[in-house]
Amino acid sequence: MPTLEMRLQRYRPEQDSAPHWQDFRVEYDDSTSVLDALEQIKAEQDSSLSYRWSCRMAICGSCGIMVNGVPKLGCKTFLRDYPKGLQLAPLGNFPVEKDLIVDMSRFLEHLTAIKPYLIAEAAPQGQPHRQTPAQLARYKQFSNCINCGLCYAACPQFGLKPDFLGPAAIALAHRYNLDSRDSGKAERMAQLNSDNGVWGCTFVGYCSTVCPKGVDPAAAVNQGKIASTLDGVIQWFKPAKEPRNKEQSK
């Protein structure tokens, strides 16, 4: 079996003052993923290596890491595509906890802040809402986010200003705002309109490039800016107490 050089960023908080690099050599074939290679290292070379993983099929969102400086899912990145070797580091823009594991708590705070749940008036008793395929299609793409955090590692704004809600949280807010069953947009706009909301984005667009699920958070942010502008204009002309999002919720 051919082998490949891998350089891993290591950091053990109890003994290292700063992260450092360590080289490993792994066997691989056409099907070996970066996650498989990490498992090989942990099993055969250094059992103290730590990284997150679970599903192995690009849906649980655990195994985001930097591969040669690019945010990737370890389970869906293959050694065959890196014949010159790879360098693995923890996801950028997040504090490192140990080796390839980062602290995701800021991400979760942002996710929670945008009220990512249906805020609806009384639902039909004992029956589902009607929602046509066209209405579903408006938000479906934005509901496919697996919370892997790759877009935060790609976002220069989040890197500079961790209070920025960031691509995934804004995309999720947008997902609910676009849902025909939802009437909570007004409650979410406060967050989205704030300095840490959509206007924090400088539209680099790299978040959408790295998204492993085609969610296109940059489009959500951009559409959010339009919504935010409209929201501002409408607010200007309407009494404050009236729900402002009726037209979108139909």
Binding site: R12, P13, E14, Q15, D30, S31, K42, A43, E44, D46, S47, S48, S50, Y51, R52, S54, C55, R56, M57, A58, I59, C60, G61, S62, K76, E97, K98, D99, I101, D103, M104, L108, L111, T112, K115, P116, Y117, L118, A120, A123, G126, Q127, P128, H129, R130, Q131, T132, P133, Q135, L136, Y139, K140, S143, N144, I146, N147, L172, Y176, R181, D182
Partner: protein
């Protein structure tokens, strides 16, 4: 190193953040908003393995369907080993729970009219499986997780790993856990504890499961004397990818995909599932829409007869979706197209997908009553880790996602009810002595001078289970695996960790998971050994044991943990009060409909 143990206290503690855990946490808080509900999970909830379920969730929906039909399909699918009262409750509450999910925002796939769309699924007489494209589990999990954020009463302990339950005199007082990030130990007192820790598929080599599916909750309850029921029934999903075992959903076949052997022949017609249906025109309970146990067994026979296909990563058959066309595949099965491309470099629009059976689901689990209560006061179990009695000897696809919701709600409500009542308080002295006992395995691992490594032991466990406790079993094979497990348990005492740190010591967690897995695997093998008949997913090869034997084995197995020796098996009567045992028939041999009964 374990001098300091932090203490926390809550009313309802839910262990596990998958579909069942989240549903029960929400139900508990809705039942009594004054209660403190704590959701503890070894991973962030949205990483839980519910996320990987693809095909859908079953509930009677169409006008031409009936509760009786869903009941009959489930009972026949279970080879009459399901608890019929439980099935009856389940089918009656399934629809309301899927509607509840819809009201919480789940993006169910729709018909043009805006009504919810349903699809065909294996072993189901009528289309009744709700779906969200082919990422149903993902959408259910995220909908539940996001909805849980609405409730300030639910607090989370993300990335905490439970070491043991605090049990004294058949009463559960809480758990001892480790905070993974810091390695700190924490004693969590709770008036009621719900185990929702998922299955144990990782004790096998080829499986569709995530790395976290290691049987933790099953082993925790088992070690404290709760029976594990029907553990011999391990479901092989007929369509996993070779090598990785990654799941290729049954919805592929529900939507019209066909299975072909090396001669391009639809071999299922030779296994009581025919007559052959035209490609792209699937018929319920026929051919590719037979139940999972029968399809995986058919693969085994094809392999024995040399009619499978050589693939670089083992023997396979072909799942052919080409006749469905690109547009349909991208609408209904987009994730399957993505997975096939990434992991076996196949575009299902142009080529068939190589597949093989892979361990998918544990039908058995922690014995509970219909209220999800275990034999320990204050301890509940729900979802794949539990055996409430829904699946018997073989689970039908799309019944388990609905199970998480229907029984998640029951478990949450019951745990809240008990937590709302006054309950005996444990003295601090008792709790600290229980905590001390709970830390023994951890101390042994840290202080070991042994030379064994977790990875090698885990590998041997997985290979041995595959070998001796697979699709077809024999006494000799099971004895061999049991003897290997026994040796592995000895070796486990000599396990030594290479990582001596506290923060994110994932080697320590893998070692603890291995310990859980060894106990669960042994229960599976011992029950399989003593069930001397063939039923559902448990098939024996010896002459005289290849048929179902209702006279002796129309009974649940109950495995009881024995320190230092093999599990003790007892037998429990099955509730067959609503539908007397009959022959399972699929394809052209299906029995006429049962007359409607009062109960359904």
């Amino acid at each position: 190193m374990h001098d300091a143990v932090k203490t926390l206290s809550t009313d309802v503690l839910v262990v596990g953040g998958g579909g069942a855990g989240l549903r029960s946490a929400i139900a508990a808080t809705e039942a009594n908003p004054k209660l403190k509900v704590t959701l503890l999970s070894k991973v962030y909830p949205m990483r839980s393995h519910t996320v990987a379920a693809e095909g859908g969730a079953a509930a009677v929906t169409m006008a031409h369907d009936s509760l009786q039909a869903h009941f009959d399909d489930t009972v026949a699918g279970s080879d009459w080993l399901a608890e019929q009262g439980v099935v009856d409750y389940f089918v009656k509450h399934a629809f309301d729970e899927l509607v509840q999910l819809e009201h919480w925002g789940c993006p169910w796939s729709r018909q043009q009219s805006g009504e919810v769309q349903v699809r065909r699924f294996g072993g189901m007489k009528t289309e009744r499986t709700w779906f969200a494209a082919d990422k149903t589990g993902f959408h259910i999990l995220h909908t539940l997780f996001q909805t849980s954020l609405k409730y300030p009463q639910i607090s989370r302990l993300d990335e905490y790993f439970v070491l043991d339950l605090l049990v004294h005199d058949r009463h559960c007082y809480g758990v001892v856990a480790i905070e993974i990030a810091s390695g700190e130990l924490v004693q969590i007192k709770a008036a009621s504890v719900i185990l929702a820790t998922g299955g144990a598929g990782r004790v096998y080599q080829f499986n569709t499961n995530g790395g976290i599916v290691t049987g933790d909750g099953m082993a925790l309850a088992y070690r404290h004397g709760v029976a594990l029921r029907d553990m011999e029934f391990v479901q092989y999903h007929p369509t996993g990818l070779p090598g990785s075992g990654i799941l290729i959903t049954e919805a592929c076949r529900g939507e019209g995909g066909i299975l072909l052997n090396k001669d391009g022949y639809r071999y299922l017609q030779d296994y009581g599932l025919g007559p052959e249906t035209p490609p792209g025109q699937p018929q319920n309970k026929t051919m590719e829409l037979g139940p999972r146990d029968k399809l995986s067994q058919a693969f085994w026979h094809e392999q024995q007869q040399g009619r499978t296909i050589q693939h670089p990563q083992g023997e396979v058959v072909h799942l052919d979706l080409r006749h469905l066309g690109q547009r349909f595949l991208l609408e209904r099965l987009p994730f399957i197209c993505e997975l096939a491309k990434a992991y076996v470099n196949v575009d299902p629009v142009k080529s068939p997908i190589p597949i093989r059976p892979a361990v998918h689901y544990t039908m058995g689990g922690i014995l509970t009553d219909t209220n999800c209560a275990t034999s320990i006061a204050g301890l509940y179990a729900v979802g794949e880790c539990a055996s409430v009695g829904l699946h018997g000897a073989n689970r039908l696809g799309s019944n388990s996602l609905t199970e998480l919701l229907v029984f998640g709600k029951v478990a949450g409500r019951e745990a809240a009810r008990v937590a709302s009542e006054s309950h005996p308080a444990a003295t601090e002295a008792l709790l600290s002595s229980l905590t001390e006992q709970a830390l023994t395995p951890l101390k042994r691992l840290h202080n070991s001078n042994g030379t064994e490594r977790w990875h090698e032991l885990r590998q041997q466990l997985a290979e041995s289970m595959e070998q001796g406790c697979g699709i077809y079993r024999s006494e000799a094979g099971l004895q061999q695996t049991l003897s290997t497990l026994n040796q592995l348990k000895q070796s486990y005492q000599q396990l030594r960790l290479g990582d001596t740190g506290k923060a994110f010591n994932t080697e320590l967690l893998h070692a603890l998971e291995l310990g859980f897995g060894l106990d669960v695997a042994e229960a599976m093998c011992q029950a399989a050994l003593e069930r001397k008949e063939s039923r559902g997913a448990h098939q024996r090869q010896e002459p005289g044991l290849t048929k179902r034997n209702d006279e002796d084995f129309l009974r649940h197995s109950l495995a009881f943990y024995q320190t230092g020796s093999a599990a003790r098996i007892e037998w429990q009567a099955v509730d067959t009060s609503l539908s007397p045992p009959a022959e399972r028939r699929y394809g052209g041999q299906q029995q006429p409909d049962n007359p409607p009964k009062e109960s359904c």
